[in-house]
């Protein structure tokens, strides 16, 4: 049960909010936990047990990792050393255990299917454990609160990966109010619109191209479809993140935002500071900086970046295409760093030249997303070959790209506008005005109607 499904929108969410609303303050965490379990069980009844086991185990690990030094008597120093040693071992075991479970499922050794949300809740758990170990965070003594943090349904399946510290206070005390619900619902609606009216529609073009076969698309269409996929991915994920933040707000949490107009960035480096920010932040905090970040010289920095990108690629999937994707981005970032050291940034900071970095980004990012999207390497080769006109087309329909532009032109235009900060500005300005709210309500029901029409199937699989 995703957020953009009729069951969630019209059954789960209203019922849950009602129940959550009438629950006394001290019971709210319990209701949220049970609600999240129900939510999870709808989508993934098979692997609910994994979550149910994982949370208490990590709760106890957290308690042990936080074992402070209340040391008495003789041999204080030795005891402390011993304790430190034990904690270190325990942390290593905890990380290895959590990553191990994730890796087993990622590599397909298990059932071949990834339990829903495991990549995300594993990362939340790890961030909590490491923070507790480093003393950044005090341990959570209540299993209920920790379980609520890890499994709360707004962020359970796809993030954002909030750190424990960001929601700690709200786990104790949060405001559940009509004002919050309204504000959250508005944000949620925007996310829903992105997902249902933009991502799912743009996804159709990408699907059409797949059904046609990459051998048989013209070079312009290959680019158009790559752009369509880039937008689809963004609005899908951004929409989901907005919905998550909106839901969180309804419940009284302020979850971190995940995107900051990434396609407006002017380099791959900045792009990934604005795309899936909570993941980038995670890798930066728990991998890049512990490795030394950029403080140990250029070569070491490049190596650290390589580690981050290899891990990021692995996190997304274990097939080779993700490795290509990660390495490509790493190489581009290395290139940008070197150009930056040569002072290239100053060169393109004036006049018309300012457009250059953007054009460069809009050129490389769709290519990188194709490496991300196409898991079969030979198919990937064909697609890139078609993009650059080096692979001969088979049975290419001459005007296919013009047709795609006619059918999807309006969507592309809407998507392009939604990629700029304009929409966010408009939203902030008008969201509390009467016409603005009216429009949002209208859009909400338009989405519900679309979902109803298309059934559970955004791609209309069942209509040939």
């Amino acid at each position: 049960m995703g957020f953009s499904s009729i069951e969630f929108l019209l059954c789960f969410l209203p019922l849950f909010l009602l129940l959550y609303g009438v629950t006394p303050r001290y019971m709210k965490n319990a209701v949220l936990l049970v609600g999240s379990m129900v939510f999870y069980a709808f989508g993934e009844p098979e692997y609910l047990w994994l979550l149910v086991v994982s949370v208490p185990v990590n709760y106890f690990l957290g308690l042990h990792l936080a074992r402070g030094a209340r040391l008495k008597g003789k041999n204080k120093r030795q005891k402390k050393k011993k304790l430190e040693y034990e904690r270190k071992i325990l942390l290593a075991v905890a990380i290895a255990g959590n990553i191990g479970v994730l890796a087993v499922f990622k590599s397909g050794i298990g059932s071949g299917r990834l339990p829903l949300g495991i990549s995300y809740y594993t990362f939340r758990i790890l961030s909590y454990l490491i923070d507790v170990y480093q003393g950044e965070e005090t341990k959570e003594t209540s299993l209920l609160r920790l379980a609520t943090y890890i499994t709360m349904f707004p962020q359970l399946l796809s993030g954002p990966i909030a750190r424990y510290g960001e929601v700690r206070e709200e786990l104790y005390e949060r405001e559940f109010s009509a004002k919050n619900i309204q504000a959250g619902l508005k944000l949620f609606t925007v996310g829903l619109v992105f997902k249902v009216l933009l991502a799912d529609r743009l996804g159709l073009l990408w699907r059409e191209v797949q059904v046609t076969g990459f051998e048989s698309i013209s070079t312009p269409l290959a680019w158009i479809a790559a752009v369509a996929y880039s937008m689809k991915l963004y609005f899908d994920f951004y929409g989901y993140s907005l919905m998550a933040v909106g839901l969180g707000q309804m419940l009284g949490f302020s979850l971190p935002s995940n995107f900051n107009d990434p396609y407006m960035a002017s380099s791959v480096r900045t792009f990934y500071r604005r795309w899936h920010m909570t993941l980038g932040r995670w890798f930066s905090r728990y991998v890049y900086i512990p490795l030394g970040g950029n403080r140990k010289g250029e070569w070491r920095t490049l190596f650290n970046l390589l580690c981050v990108w290899l891990l990021t690629a692995l996190w997304h999937g274990s097939t080779l295409n993700f490795l290509i994707w990660g390495l490509m981005l790493w190489a581009l970032i290395v290139l940008e760093r070197q150009l930056g050291r040569l002072g290239a940034e100053k060169l393109v900071s004036r006049g018309v030249l300012r457009a250059l970095p953007h054009l460069y980004l809009w050129f490389v990012i769709p290519v990188s997303w194709m490496c991300f999207a196409i898991t079969d390497l030979s198919q990937l080769g064909i697609y890139l070959g078609r993009m650059f006109g080096v692979v001969e087309g088979i049975r290419v329909s001459a005007g296919d790209w013009a047709k795609a532009l006619t059918n999807y032109g309006a969507l592309f235009a809407a998507g392009a506008i939604a990629c700029t900060p304009v929409l966010g500005k408009l939203f902030r300005k008008f969201k509390d005005s009467l016409p603005g709210m009216f429009l949002l309500i209208l859009l909400f029901w338009l989405c519900v109607w679309r979902l109803q029409v298309e059934g559970q199937n955004p791609f209309m699989y069942l209509n040939f």
């Binding site: 059904v211 088979i394 049975r395 296919d400």
Partner: protein
């Protein structure tokens, strides 16, 4: 003697690849059962069958002969690689070997149609009384029997054959329109999601210089065609039964022929989906498609209505569409539409009086 037999068995067991026999054996079995069943039902036709095995790599020759003034004898030449010639009806001394298009629907797979098996004929459609209708009833799931027994003569033609043709259908036909290379030649009344129930009322036909599209009914009343290719039926699988579907299909066929009195109609068997897609668990499955195709094949009278089934050309040994031919398990990728088109070109009916600007296939 025993020694040689034992040595043979050891050789076969150890060295040979047994799997290559599975397909031909299966085909022979299906064919054999079909023939048996057919003869059991049509008791006016006495039959004797024989299946003398040739050698492991060679042909199985099956002779069928009936009484009642009409002699039908078939020979099934089958090699391990899967090329064959099935059931050539022998009438008045004209031998009409059929080509690979009439193999059992789950056989053949990717094997290319036997080039040598294409039709040699006088160019005439043979009389179809006799065993034609009986054949269809006899063999459940065996669309090849009526064709074979009907003695339809198919020609191989060029693209211009389709100049006076219209293709009507769902997204599969849209694929033919977009990637078959016939968009300039033939007319296409095709739309994704088209069903036999709404076929005539759907406003899907674009008219030049007019923004609003007209319905198939209107288009068929305004234009005249010599050939109609119908490929429809997968969207209907979620509703009704095979019977209700075929009933609606029959009505559609009648109405088509009414609107186009001079046309011949090709009923195309619904293209199957991949076995993986079939096992996905919704209503789209190959068993359902086979049941419908079997029923559709019986609508053919082999005079004005002909049944064509491209499935043997595009299916693998599991009986579903070859997975590498498709992304979604349902639609042929653009580059493989040609298989379908070639199949249609090799299964063209040329009526009396029509100029034959194509050589009869050899």
């Amino acid at each position: 003697m025993i020694f040689w037999a034992a040595a043979g068995i050891v050789y076969l067991a150890a060295v040979d690849d047994w799997q290559v026999y599975a397909k031909p054996l299966e085909q022979v079995k299906i064919w054999y059962e079909g023939v048996k069943q057919e003869f059991r039902q049509a008791d006016s036709v006495r039959a004797e069958e024989g299946m003398p095995w040739a050698d492991v790599s060679g042909a199985d020759v099956v002779a069928v002969s009936g009484s009642e003034g009409m002699t039908v004898s078939g020979s099934e030449g089958m090699t391990v690689s899967g090329t064959e010639e099935i059931l050539a009806p022998e009438t008045d001394g004209t031998t009409l070997p059929e080509n690979g298009g009439i193999v059992p629907s789950d056989g053949e797979g990717m094997a290319a149609p036997d080039a040598g098996g294409t039709v040699v004929s006088t160019g005439d459609v043979l009389p179809t009384d006799g065993m034609g209708p009986a054949g269809g009833e006899g063999a459940a799931g065996l669309p090849e029997i009526p064709e074979a027994d009907g003695g339809v003569v198919y020609h191989t033609v060029e693209d211009d054959y389709f100049a006076d043709a219209v293709f009507i259908g769902d997204s599969r036909t849209v694929g033919m329109l977009e990637y078959g290379g016939l968009e300039e030649t033939a007319d296409f009344y095709a739309s994704t999601g088209l069903t036999v129930y709404k076929m005539f009322s759907s406003e899907i036909v674009a008219v030049e210089g007019q923004r609003k599209k007209i319905s198939v009914e209107q288009a068929l009343s305004q234009n005249s065609y010599a050939k109609i290719y119908l490929m429809i039926g997968i969207n209907e699988m979620g509703t009704g039964t095979v019977e209700s579907f075929v009933e609606a299909y029959q009505e559609a066929v009648d109405h088509l022929l009414e609107l186009q009195p001079d046309a011949i109609l090709y009923i195309q068997g619904i293209i199957k989906v991949t076995t993986e897609r079939s096992e996905q668990g919704d209503y789209i499955n190959n068993e359902g498609i086979e049941a419908r195709n079997e029923a559709l094949s019986r609508l053919a009278d082999n005079e004005r209505i002909f049944y064509l089934d491209v499935n043997p050309e595009i299916c693998d040994e599991t009986g579903g569409m070859e997975p590498s031919y498709t992304f979604d398990g349902v639609h042929l990728k653009a580059q493989y539409i040609d298989i379908w088109k070639t199949y249609l070109k090799e299964h063209a009916i040329i009526k009396d009086g029509q100029s034959v600007d194509c050589e009869p296939a050899d």
